[in-house]
Symmetry: C2
Subunit: 87 residues, 2 copies
């Protein structure tokens, strides 16, 4: 499956969240990562992030796609990160 991860977490936890997420996904731009991921790795990623974030203050949102057949991407401005060739 393909996942887009967006996070909105307290500054003191950003580095740890980013370091963890980058083990599984590509960094796209500030607070956004994406990529293909297996169910097992997705469970691991969620488990690891759940132990890092403050559940009452932080927010990590996953958009999960079984198929990217109906999707595309457009960019205004500069490309900040690498991106998977999903689209």
């Amino acid at each position: 499956m393909f996942v887009i991860l967006v996070y909105d977490v307290n500054q003191k936890r950003v580095a740890k969240v980013l370091k963890t997420a980058r083990k599984y996904l590509y960094w796209v731009q500030n607070s956004v990562l994406e990529g293909e991921i297996t169910e097992a790795n997705f469970r691991r990623l969620k488990g690891e992030l759940s132990r890092i974030i403050n559940q009452d203050e932080d927010s990590v949102l996953f958009y999960i796609f079984g198929s990217m057949k109906y999707s595309s991407r457009e960019l205004l401005g500069i490309q900040k990160g690498g991106e998977t060739n999903m689209l």
Copy 2:
């Protein structure tokens, strides 16, 4: 179509980018908006944002979906914004 907008722009332009994007999409969390949008409005939104951002410094990325049939969403932590009932 359904669009997820993520932006990574210079702090001095965030307010204007957000104000413009909120005319067309729902704010989800820091630097993320989403929602159903018509082709015509999508063109307008891109046009307005292109005139606001610095093309050499800022980045606005749109994920565009013709169908959300194969998608879902998961949240860790708190829900920061409203969200469309797309998923």
